[in-house]
């Protein structure tokens, strides 16, 4: 009996992990390619969910339309996350390259992205208040029972879906021309410029991908858990950072493994030690890993050392 309950928790943990995967990949892309710890990612995630909710509830602002279909609303939410991410690129990352002869220079994009985190979060708080909102979608309660285990079909689909997206991304990075350019920029931006890569045109692609991954992940969350809130990004964001570090900074497949590990350890420690123990387990694991194996499970040695 205990064994079956634990197995059910493992299933739940993997499902929870599927939410973290996409966000963790967004973090790892920003770090791996641009050497930039992008703190706007939780805000982009929240933005997609809240914009989707607001559209499906009230329609376009200023009375331009009635409530919108939930799927279309979430789609617009994802577009909003991508646009916001491009805004961050324009005002945060481009000024990164202005060199100032000081060691705090590496903190410039980090601090600036913290500023954007506040801006996005408080725009939504001003507009909609701080309550958690119910988000009803077509999938209300589709549980699939096999041999006593409960598997929610939308969750299973979203796990498969997020792994497929990330796998596609990984192929894109390896095979396509853009992917090769991105990997060149990751290795050395100056050398990439000399080799004829237009860095200013390629870099926005990373930010589009970041916005897309956050938006997709928020849509999956809204469909599975039927709720959104202005603080939804904080919880997922911190867990995704943990997932990124566990998998290794800059490693896409590491982020997948890390997301699943974080989801598993969260549900298992809640099951065995109570609700608020998850925080200690996940962050304790992260701290131990940072100290004893800072490259994570699949990480690259050169990333994130010395500079941001």
């Amino acid at each position: 009996m205990l064994f079956e309950q634990v197995l059910q928790q493992i299933i739940n943990g993997l499902m929870l992990g599927s939410i973290y995967i996409s966000v963790a990949v967004a973090f790892t892309l920003a770090i791996g390619i641009l050497n930039f710890l992008n703190f706007t990612i939780p805000a982009l995630y929240m933005l997609a969910g809240m914009v989707g909710w607001s559209l499906s509830q009230y329609g376009v602002p200023f009375g331009l339309s009635g409530p919108v279909n939930w799927a279309f609303a979430l789609f617009i939410g994802i577009i909003c996350a991508i646009l916001a991410s491009l805004l961050v690129e324009r005002f945060t990352y481009r000024y990164f390259k202005m060199k100032h002869g000081d060691a705090t220079e590496h903190a410039i994009p980090l601090v600036s992205s913290l500023g954007f985190l506040l801006i996005f979060e408080y725009i939504i708080l001003i507009a909609h208040g701080s309550d958690t909102r119910g988000f009803s979608t077509a999938f209300s309660n589709l549980d699939w029972r096999i041999g006593g285990f409960i598997i929610s079909i939308p969750q299973l689909l979203s796990l498969v879906f997020s792994i497929l997206i990330v796998a596609g991304l990984s192929v894109l990075l390896k095979r396509s021309k853009v992917g090769r350019a991105l990997r060149a920029i990751a290795e050395n931006p100056d050398a990439a410029t000399i080799m004829g890569i237009d860095v200013d045109r390629i870099v926005p692609i990373v930010f589009i991908l970041i916005g897309f991954l956050c938006g997709i992940s928020a849509a999956i969350f809204a469909i599975n858990y039927h709720e959104v809130s202005p603080y939804m990004g904080d919880h997922v964001g911190t867990k995704a950072i943990a997932a990124m570090v566990i998998g290794g900074l800059g490693s896409v497949w590491g982020a997948i493994a890390g997301g699943l590990i974080v989801g598993l350890s969260e549900t298992l420690s809640i099951y065995f030690f109570g609700a608020s123990s998850a925080q200690i387990t996940v962050w304790g694991l992260l701290l131990l890993l940072l100290v004893f194996r800072p490259t994570g499970l699949f990480g690259h040695n050169a990333i994130g050392k010395g500079k941001f």
């Binding site: 770090i31 710890l37 005002f91 945060t92 000024y95 202005m98 100032h100 000081d102 060691a103 705090t104 220079e105 590496h106 903190a107 410039i108 994009p109 980090l110 601090v111 600036s112 913290l114 500023g115 954007f116 985190l117 506040l118 801006i119 979060e121 408080y122 725009i123 708080l125 001003i126 904080d234 911190t238 950072i241 943990a242 570090v245 900074l249 109570g274 608020s276 123990s277 925080q279 200690i280 962050w283 304790g284 992260l286 701290l287 940072l290 100290v291 800072p294 994130g304 050392k305 010395g306 500079k307 941001f308």
Partner: protein
């Protein structure tokens, strides 16, 4: 002094002390994104000592600083093995773990928080803040301050020049932890109630922003940064949500036009020259 004014001044004092704790670490080139954790340690130490043992206020404050310093000294060795973005994440993780432990310990009140019996006046907070500011300026004016500046500007060269890099970094981290503990103790005594949820990631982020916006090059930075971001919203009298929105806008604009903070070494030199040389020279 009206109740409103004394409340604002107390928050200002606590914020300035907290900002100096992060500044001392940042002055050696390390970013500490776990300030709230050390503040929480100080606050709970202070609350327990005064509630359970009935120690006098000044002793509890000293103990909360000592405990904050001792714990950060122990943590410094594993944490300072990490660098750059890993260090930011490691300190962030520590703050989360401290909050998690407090939430899970019934003796510390868990999620319901804890009432502190002792009470201090605004004046005490302000006196301690002045002492800490003077201490910050003093440290930066000594040879240790020079060594910290050297490590901040270039670790490898400072190491080559015979600066004991590791001792400087561990020392700065420990002093920072002690000052953060002190600010937590003051917070607990002034507000009379503490809960783990208050010491969250946002607090760590804000205090780091005060320091970086103020500027890490001189000891003026945290004083100017913390005062600026505590007093300006009060002066404008705007709602809480708008306050943080404008805070974010200011940060983004500042990073574009003045990424090294409000107060820099160059700016200070120019001001001094204008004030004391009598004639203008550029």
């Amino acid at each position: 002094m009206s109740g409103y004014l004394s409340g604002v001044l107390a928050i200002l004092g606590i914020n300035i002390i907290f900002a100096y704790s992060i500044y001392i670490t940042a002055a050696t080139g390390q970013l500490n994104l776990g300030g709230a954790g050390f503040q929480a340690i100080g606050a709970y130490a202070c609350a327990l000592l005064s509630n359970e043992l009935g120690l006098p206020i000044y002793l509890t404050l000293v103990f909360s600083a000592i405990l904050g310093g001792a714990i950060s000294f122990l943590i410094a060795f594993p944490v300072l093995r990490t660098k750059g973005v890993y260090m930011v994440l490691a300190t962030f993780a520590i703050a989360e773990i401290v909050a998690g432990i407090i939430l899970n310990t019934d003796y510390l009140g868990g999620p319901t928080g804890m009432i502190v019996n002792a009470y201090i006046e605004t004046e005490v907070v302000l006196v301690v803040a002045v002492i800490i500011v003077i201490l910050g300026f003093y440290i930066m004016s000594t040879r240790i301050g020079l060594a910290m500046r050297a490590v901040h500007d270039d670790e490898a060269v400072a190491d080559l020049m015979g600066v004991d890099k590791r001792a400087i970094q561990v020392g700065a981290f420990t002093i920072g932890g002690a000052i953060a503990g002190l600010s937590g103790g003051l917070y607990a005594l002034y507000f009379g109630f503490i809960e783990a949820q208050y010491f969250n990631a946002n607090i760590s982020i804000f205090v780091l922003l005060y320091v970086l916006i103020g500027g890490t090059q001189t000891a003026w930075g945290p004083l100017v940064g913390a005062s600026f971001f505590t007093l300006i919203p009060e002066a404008l009298r705007i709602g809480d949500d708008w306050r943080f929105f404008i805070f974010g806008v200011i940060i983004v604009i500042m990073m574009i036009f003045r990424p090294e903070g409000i107060v820099t070494r160059d700016a200070l030199e120019r001001v001094w020259r204008q004030l004391f040389s009598g004639k203008r020279n550029v």
